[in-house]
Amino acid sequence: VASAKPMLVFVTNGSSDFWKAAAAGVKKAQAELPDFDLSLKYPEQATAAAQQRLLDDLVTAGAKGIMISAVDPKTSTDMLDKIASQTALFTTDSDAPQTKRIAYIGSSNVLAGQQAGEIAKKAMPNGGECMGFVGLPGADNSKERVEGFKDGIKGTKIKLIDVRGDNMDQTAAKKNVADALVANPNITCMVGIYSYNTPQIYAALKEAGELGKITIVGFDDDPVTLGGVKEGTIAGTVVQQPFQWAYEGMKLMAAYVNGDKSGVPANHLIIVPTKIITKDNVDAYAADLKAMQG
């Protein structure tokens, strides 16, 4: 049903819990922007093709502004430019600097990876062997986090010996952890690179009775991850702030559509830094999270 209000859309790169916080951000922004029609859209599959058709359809439906986490920003220049020529386009999560996007709001996966490396460094002063777990090892976000992590542990005795993929299947994710314990008895640390990997590491180690003996470094803020951090069995986790991306992004976009371009910085980048969550600040973070989503 066509709405009279200008439409602003936040398009994710797939459906994942990660975006729940962004949805909350959109909701909060909507409350403050009654003259706009804000929404958050998932492509039905996490593929470039599905996302592209969603964008085409949104433009057709008359979207005035789109904020997108492109499935594959590096190779989607043409598509993004096409969209940018028809509507106000912002990028988030992972940037596409070569396109005509108006601005990027988000954080850096490389930086997040480095922060994860710092957690590992602190937790294992004597070094150790790490195994990474991820959905798609070849995906950009995964590669950047791994790259950052390797950066972060450079010069220490910590080694990342392998990264196992599970094709976004949590059964396989858990099984990978169990198999890694069997295949590599020397492992002393595990890194959960996608948000669901850390809880699966936690569960598999718990069942194997290895919880607490192996250092777990996580990403994102799954409830189990935060619980583990609080419990002390997870050394720490690196969180991004999709709530902020969405909230600030939507407000910026609304202003931009209304003709106020002052919010866009010269370098077109608005970096919302990632945070390290450890036992010390986990309670505060959880409370924050609850407040934001509530």
Binding site: Y42, A48, D72
Partner: protein
């Protein structure tokens, strides 16, 4: 166009009318162009699937082949510097080889089509992922192939190139399927392979040809898909596309038992599926319901089709009974 196809066409128009009323932007030329572009892309592989389904087979490796060909083609021309016509040629050869392999395993080694192509689904996806180590294959910034782009993503008077390609392929394949000797053999093999063999038909060759045609058309559609997305994530690109193709064929009146279906039917099936996807996005239906809408409409469509078929058969019989009760004219006529 037979009655079944006509029914499907009416369904497409009816759905379109409803959507157009709810959101008039549905009828914008750009929207029709976008949607028909996707019809072109999916249509190419669906026609291939149709050939296989007519023989009573099934081709589950379509989605994986689309990923594999996409990865190889883009990598060849974007990174390896292979001229694109050469790369295209190589991909077509790959399609022929894969089709031959599937056909060989099915006819000579006598494996079930479902099994052979399921293994294909797993293997080609695995190879595609291994080839790029799960990385996305794509074009660098500003890397352009004007002629190739024009042929795949260009438009002629607003008509997307993929639609033109589909029209050409569909026209040719319509003749092959509904007019040629080979087409007749396909139907015969699909309905009763043994009887076809006992009629001196080289059934194995017919079946193998069907798989080769399917794979060649799949390669073609893979290239169109690759140029459309310009970015191929080997783990997810083309996932489930075989199911879309099969669903389109089934909606279009094909029987998975083989021996039934028309070319127009499968194209109408593709159009309906794409219309549904478009509708979900345009009407602001939560995208999580996308699949459910698609499944629901397919189910309703085939049920109506089935009930309609049963109804027609009943009517035919009743009418025959009435005709038969009068002095059996037909038999008399024909025995003379």
């Amino acid at each position: 166009m037979n009655k079944k196809d006509l029914g499907l066409l009416l369904l497409i128009l009816a759905v379109g009318a409803v959507v157009a009323v709810l959101n008039p932007r549905f009828l914008l030329p750009i929207n029709i162009s976008n949607t028909s572009n996707l019809v072109g892309l999916f249509g190419l592989s669906a026609i291939g699937q149709a050939f296989v389904i007519i023989t009573g087979g099934i081709e589950l490796s379509v989605g994986s082949m689309i990923a594999l060909v996409g990865v190889l083609f883009v990598d060849f021309i974007a990174s390896e510097g292979v001229p694109w016509p050469v790369a295209l040629g190589l991909m077509l050869v790959l399609g022929v080889l894969v089709g031959l392999a599937h056909g060989f395993l099915i006819t000579k080694v006598k494996l079930q089509p479902f099994v052979v192509t399921l293994c294909g689904l797993l293997i080609y996806r695995g190879v595609a992922r291994f080839y790029t180590q799960d990385a996305t294959a794509g074009f660098g910034f500003g890397q352009d192939f004007p002629l190739l782009d024009g042929l795949t993503t260009g438009k002629v008077y607003g008509v997307p190139a993929s639609v033109i390609a589909l029209a050409i392929v569909a026209g040719a394949m319509w003749v092959v399927l509904h007019r040629s000797v080979f087409g007749r053999y396909l139907y015969a093999v699909g309905k009763n392979e043994e009887a076809a063999r006992y009629s001196g038909i080289r059934t194995d060759r017919i079946v193998i040809s069907a798989y080769v045609i399917c794979q060649v058309l799949t390669v073609l559609s893979a290239i169109y898909f690759a140029m459309y997305t310009r970015s191929i994530a080997p783990a997810s690109h083309g996932n489930f596309y075989e199911l879309y193709a099969i669903a389109a064929a089934v909606l279009g009146g094909f029987s998975l038992q083989g021996g039934e279906g028309s070319l127009i039917g499968v194209i109408l099936g593709v159009i309906l599926l794409q219309e549904l996807q478009n509708l979900v996005n345009l009407l602001g239906i939560p995208s999580s319901l996308n699949f459910a809408v698609m499944g629901g409409v397919i189910l309703i469509g085939v049920t109506m089709d089935q009930q309609w078929g049963a109804f027609m058969a009943r009517r035919l019989r009743t009418r025959a009974a009435r005709a038969g009760s009068t002095a059996r004219p037909d038999v008399a006529k024909n025995s003379g």
